[in-house]
Symmetry: C2
Subunit: 465 residues, 2 copies
């Protein structure tokens, strides 16, 4: 299946052929993480941990099961999730007194405990995160990594003395995200959701949206400002410097295994995966090209090359299988290894190594002498180019319109006065969802596409994947 | 509370005071992992990953929820777990067609998929593991890390061509365990369980048992030989070299957050935790001892010391809080940091650093010049001594008896002919559980304590924690 012809089929096929997941588990939307898929997820997790640890967040782990009464305290929140949670009603042979639900997200597991942890302003800000399995009873068609029922999920939860400090946290989250997305080579837009589309219980929600090659939007995650919406029902209070009791302001930041799905979808090609070097299990694969009379020398040279790169901290694999080089090229291209090094008798003679980039297919020679530096430089070029190409593709998949007619399947940028009436009308006429307005101050000199009022900020619409 | 006076109370108190867990979550037996507790668990997990990766196991992640019909295929297995699983019966507002249970362990989630992964002898051995949350509806009194209802759990699952290869795996597991337990400074005995106490579905079970200071036994984990007991109902077959179809032989190895509980219980003292250096979040804490006129010089020297140790790969913390050194000593002793370095004006003048061992309280001077080597050497001594002391304590808490009268609360070693009748009688008369017979070939020239028949292997009994 070709990506350009049927993106959706291509995606399903590539995920399976590259053996990232096994979808044959007998519960729909609950897939098995294979060793290869799980390693990629863990690489992403380790970047997340690094970023959040470095910004003073503490990793925690809260229980999976949430009692119904505790879940119900914030009214909007339970309304938003009521139809999509899994319920534990029995334990052993007996019914439970209080039903327990599987966390769809952990606000209601954490916040009663936060109210015990926070006493005074000295306890603030409280910055925590966890990486856990969460559950949503998706009724739409499921899709590996993109829409599943057991979701590998990262969530940070912070408490602050006031709104301004919580806003600072939101800005720090934007910076963390920028660094993470660069490593993952993922372009995105930060779009403030409409009031009718924000997270249940949030004061406002910023969606992290990217575009897939089929022109559909994919939400990679979100960042929420809760103000006091949760701290009031959950009574998370602190004593300020003057001895007065105040409710904390809260934020959250969440992202999921969709990051894996986005990498597959955006960077993959007809040959298979193309993994960003910072995420790849193997950044480099070495394929010895053996020829009669040189087998031993080439094997020795390949092993030396392997040891040298490994010692230099490169994640490298030496493929010594007894199959033709062409088979190896095929396999590692499917697996998305960013850089292939070929080493044959001629390379050795010339004191060179043949480099082949997975992202562009380019083939070139580099000096054997300073190979570790060359490898690092090329991996860095690959990452930079992958992000730049994806960024360009996102721009190419975005159009600006002044009327909502004959819209292509792309992300659409247009004018909106901001009123709910016009917003609903935009969604109805375009048959798309409003993703929101950019938070980065992007300007737009135009008119609301419905009422014609002048507007200085654009709005983005799309069909969701 | 003193450990020697009331171990059980001491344990509960120390876990709370050291802030390893928060037990105030509103579901009994489901506790919150605080940042400090979680870091210790993660350190243990990373040792586990290292060992299993190095022995050719692949990490995977299988879904949490298991359909009832899939769970019921191996008859002994479901009988063993029926009374202690949590059931998901509803999703959203509707009842599910097939009830789903929360994994108590993952045999029945994995094995239907293994039957798809394994086709030929070339796919064997299949060696996998995962680190996940599991659930058991404990009806006994819960206790942090030791008896909980959401359990942080490691489980390896392997498939082999024949019984002999599965037996080799069991022996590899023994070796892995020995290396892990050394890092965790935990002594243990490998005891083959009785037939009436083995894991539901196993051919045989080897318990990994340690003794707590109160003389009760604590099972740290277990290693199971399944033979074809699961591969038959789950149809995990392979084609051998001759083209014949055979069932695989399977083994598992599981350990849980009890490892944290055992470290707390065995090594802790009245001042708090005592963490093994390989597990400690901070292996070393530096406390600058400031005095008038030397504040700046000491602060500078302490920071240099910190940077030097950090660069040398030591997990080190510099405590620059504006409180008295005594307060810092107290805090870090409670947290169990293995080694404290004190640095004052006199130390600097003498070109020395004051070392204080957490495990023994010993205080001594070491040269500042080669401090990183000194620190490494002392940490290594601490680990060696902690294990040796615990080993000695385990021996002291074990007695050999020839009659089952007036037994103290210790691990009891006696003779057993191996018959079920005598075994049940031993348990009844001793009011203890048979843990099993040693797998290491330990000999015992004696008689069955019930029937008097000669026996060459001892049996161990204990009351469980």
């Amino acid at each position: 299946m070709k990506k350009a012809e049927d993106f959706s089929e291509w995606y399903n096929e590539i995920v399976e052929r590259a053996n990232l997941t096994d979808k044959r588990y007998p519960v729909k939307g609950m897939n098995v993480w294979t060793p290869y898929g799980w390693k990629i997820m863990q690489a992403i997790d380790s970047h997340i941990r690094q970023e959040f640890d470095a910004t003073g967040h503490n990793e925690v782990y809260f229980p999976l099961l949430i009692p119904e009464d505790q879940f119900a305290k914030e009214k909007e929140h339970i309304k938003g999730f009521d139809a999509e949670v899994f319920w534990v009603t029995h334990a052993g042979l007996n019914p439970l007194d209080v039903r327990l639900l599987l966390r769809p997200t952990s606000e209601t597991a954490m916040y009663p405990i936060f109210s015990l942890w926070i006493r005074s302003h000295a306890d603030l800000p409280l910055k925590t995160y966890q990486i856990v399995n969460t559950f949503r009873y998706e009724t739409k068609q499921t899709r590996a990594f993109i829409r599943v029922r057991e979701i590998h999920f990262f969530e940070s939860h912070t408490c602050h003395a006031d709104f301004e400090d919580a806003e600072r946290q939101v800005r720090e989250d934007f910076e963390i995200l920028a660094r993470l997305a660069k490593k993952l080579c993922l372009p995105y837009r930060l779009l403030k959701r409409t009031d009718w589309d924000k997270f249940p219980g949030a004061d406002y929600t910023v969606g992290i949206d990217t575009i897939l090659p089929n022109g559909r939007s994919l939400q990679l995650g979100s960042i929420h400002q809760y103000k006091e919406n949760f701290s009031r029902p959950y009574e998370i209070k602190y004593e300020d410097e003057k001895g007065e009791h105040r409710y904390v302001h809260q934020t959250t930041f969440g992202m999921s295994e969709r990051l894996v799905g986005a990498i597959v979808a955006i960077h993959g090609d007809d040959k298979g995966l193309v993994l960003p070097p910072d995420v790849a299990t193997n950044q480099v694969v070495i394929v010895p090209v053996l020829a009669k009379g040189h087998t031993e020398a080439v094997t020795r040279a390949a092993r030396e090359l392997f040891e040298e790169l490994r010692a230099a901290g490169v994640r490298v694999h030496l493929d010594e299988r007894d199959v033709r080089p062409g088979v190896k090229y095929y396999d590692w291209e499917l697996k998305g290894v960013p850089l292939r090094l070929e080493l044959g008798a001629r390379d050795i003679e010339m004191k060179k190594v043949t480099f082949v980039r997975r992202d562009t297919g380019e083939k070139f020679l580099r000096e054997r002498a300073n190979v570790a530096d060359e490898v690092r430089a090329v991996l860095s070029d690959i990452a930079r180019d992958m992000l730049a190409r994806a960024q360009k593709e996102m721009e190419a998949n975005t159009i600006t319109v002044t009327e909502l007619k004959d819209l292509p399947e792309k992300m659409v940028r247009t004018g909106w006065c901001g009123s709910a009436d016009c917003g609903h009308e935009i969604e109805a006429r375009s048959d798309m969802n409003i993703l929101g307005t950019p938070v980065d101050g992007e300007t737009f000199e135009g008119k609301c596409v419905i009422c014609g009022k002048p507007t200085r900020s654009p709005v983005y619409l799309a069909k969701a994947m």
